[in-house]
Subunit: 184 residues, 2 copies
DNA sequence: TGATTTTTGTACCGATCGGTACAAAGTTGT
DNA sequence: ACAACTTTGTACCGATCGGTACAAAAATCA
């Protein structure tokens, strides 16, 4: 009696490491310790349902730990600062890849287009909201929010490509201080 | 008698669209119009050699159109400006994905680790060189160069995820003006 | 033209793919 | 203990994977 939520982390890691196409049931079975029988019992929809479930959980995590604080935390600078803490820990200081980003670049984007779009749209919207609340005008807030989210995604790519996780940490620090001056 | 160079563009497009794992020989055969016989005649090493060849060509293109101008163009501001033009056209104003970025995020990074690392390392180094020549101190040049390359990669991800190619164009414009003030 | 070599299409290989069937094993309620 | 139900492992399915063998077909050279 294994619950879906118990194996979602392992499942997410497989998709992150191998992408949607590369995450074979054999790999998934090995990573979760569950046979095909159990997997298809938990996820009758197969791989697609597994990935959808993982995305749902990721979205929920970001909603709780990023989006909501960004929208509601007072002063808004606190929400922004917390965002950087959460991002740093979630992406393991640059050693962990963003599954949603991976899916966005691949063909599987078509399968999960809505989830992928929503993830980034909500992130940008929440961050822009915090910026607006801190005094920026609406247009500048959205532009800066897009820039910051893109910078985070790009830093993941670059840190991974150069095998320099520290680059990711540095990028976060730079963004943090830039936003402190922008928002303060 | 089809030459390797003739089919490399189609080949690159398949890898870009489907990733390394997702680019099956059936897809490759269809995209290039060549049967397996011809493919394995041109690339005895199979998929791995095809991808390596594509990466080599990409690297050569960037060397000619980006890295060298960045290092040698005078004044350096010209090289930087040309870089943005080249980047905009190469990535089809945000509608085309960066294959090297895709590989960097996937497992296939291990297979092409050196090529992936070299691509980004040379880009950052060339851009940092141009910045240094334009008067920035060495440390700031490298930091800014990493930031810019990351921003470009992130903008690709974000533009694709949100299905808003214009976001990529806007990001380039922002970077361009920021660097004009930094380098000028 | 005929001999030689390069290029191509097709049939095939074992392995693995995602997914299904189903019975054994485990759990639960009584 | 027994029946009802849930969870799991294993065998198997057709399809497709990357790759090989090889002969027909082109092209080249004499």
């Amino acid at each position: 009696m294994t619950a879906r939520s118990e194996i979602l982390p392992a499942l997410a890691e497989v998709f992150r490491e191998h992408g949607y196409a590369g995450a074979s049931l054999a790999l998934i079975s090995q990573a979760t310790g569950l046979g095909k029988g159990s997997l298809y019992h938990l996820f009758p929809g197969g791989k697609a349902e597994m990935a959808a479930c993982v995305l749902e959980e990721i979205d929920a995590w970001f909603e709780t730990n990023l989006y909501r604080p960004l929208r509601e935390r007072d002063p808004p600078e606190r929400g922004i600062s917390d965002m950087f803490d959460s991002v740093a820990s979630y992406f393991r200081s640059g050693q962990r890849v963003c599954l949603v980003g991976v899916l966005a670049l691949g063909t599987s984007r078509d399968l999960f287009a809505e989830a992928v779009r929503g993830y980034f749209a909500r992130w940008v919207a929440a961050l822009a909201d915090a910026l607006r609340r801190s005094g920026q005008d609406a247009a500048a807030s959205t532009a800066l929010a897009e820039e910051v989210v893109a910078q985070i995604q790009g830093a993941i790519v670059l840190a991974r490509a150069l095998d320099q996780p520290a680059l990711f940490t540095r990028a976060l620090a730079t963004l943090r201080s830039r936003m402190a001056t922008a928002a303060g």
